[in-house]
């Protein structure tokens, strides 16, 4: 049955994200907040998170490429991204933010550049996997509604 197969796929995807540390238990909290009165909650939060994260990553890139890096502005943006990542359970992305804050505190430009690349990489990993998850969810809901 198509729905069962899709649900297995969804379960396996989420499990692999936990196993790889892409997500942590906070993501379960998010899923628990979704119910029949708020059936799109997870998707809405992820959408908000992604818009915010992309805006911040753009700003971080700009500040890091400045002649005189404004570390305090940098720190403020990373703090925001760390907060959002932590709230949705994006574990590896959160760790990458911690690393950038550390490098920024030490005023170590090379480390900052490396840490920022990790942030970008981890963001794209979590975003693409969450997008697949959302597509699976939508597909499952559509099939269930047709029944």
């Amino acid at each position: 049955m198509a729905i069962a197969a899709l649900k297995t796929q969804r379960r396996n995807l989420v499990q692999s994200m936990f196993d790889e540390g892409v997500l942590d238990n906070q993501f379960n909290q998010l899923q628990d907040l979704q119910d029949s009165s708020n059936p799109n909650f997870v998707e809405e939060v992820i959408s908000l998170f992604c818009n915010d994260a992309e805006r911040i990553i753009t700003e971080l890139n700009r500040y890091l490429n400045d002649q005189n890096v404004d570390f305090s502005k940098l720190d403020s943006y990373v703090h925001q991204l760390k907060g959002s990542s932590s709230s949705i359970g994006a574990y590896r992305l959160k760790l990458a933010c911690v690393n950038l804050r550390q490098a920024s505190e030490e005023r170590n430009m090379e480390e900052c550049a490396g840490a920022f690349n990790s942030i970008r990489r981890e963001y794209y990993v979590v975003r693409s996997k969450l997008q697949v998850l959302i597509q699976l969810e939508r597909h499952i809901v559509n099939l269930e509604n047709q029944q």
Partner: protein, 132 residues
């Protein structure tokens, strides 16, 4: 778990809460956590707005106060609210882990402190403190 409104009266006996957080994702999640518990809630984006909303005459049973915010942070906002005579339950929520920083936040006038991210069980433990 949602409280029933009083029969025939304008006033509801639903618990009310104020979310004070500069992060949009956190505001959305905290709003939903509170909604799920039947708690009417509004959100503001920094400490100054939290103070201003009280100056306008509104009060809340619970205030979820973030620490790091622009314009006015959670420590200063908590201090000011207490100086204004606000006796609501103020629960600080933050990602800070240094004891000294948490102590400063608590000493500003918090009734409780929880480390972010906020979960349903952390929120329930805060609410149990209100109810005694």
């Amino acid at each position: 778990m949602a409280a029933q409104g009083r029969h025939g009266g304008k006033k509801s006996n639903k618990m009310t809460a104020l979310v004070v957080d500069d992060n949009t994702v956190n505001r959305m999640i905290h709003h939903r956590l509170l909604d799920n518990l039947g708690i009417e809630n509004v959100a503001v984006v920094n400490g100054k707005e939290a103070v201003d909303i009280h100056c306008s005459g509104k009060t809340f049973d619970l205030i979820l106060m973030d620490m790091d915010m622009p314009v006015m942070n959670g420590i200063e906002a908590t201090r000011q609210l207490r100086e204004m005579g606000i006796r609501s339950m103020i629960a600080g929520v933050s990602t800070r882990s240094m004891e000294r920083e948490i102590r400063e936040f608590i000493e500003a006038g918090l009734d409780d402190y929880q480390e972010k991210p906020l979960t349903m069980s952390k929120l329930i433990s805060i609410i149990h403190k209100i109810n005694g």
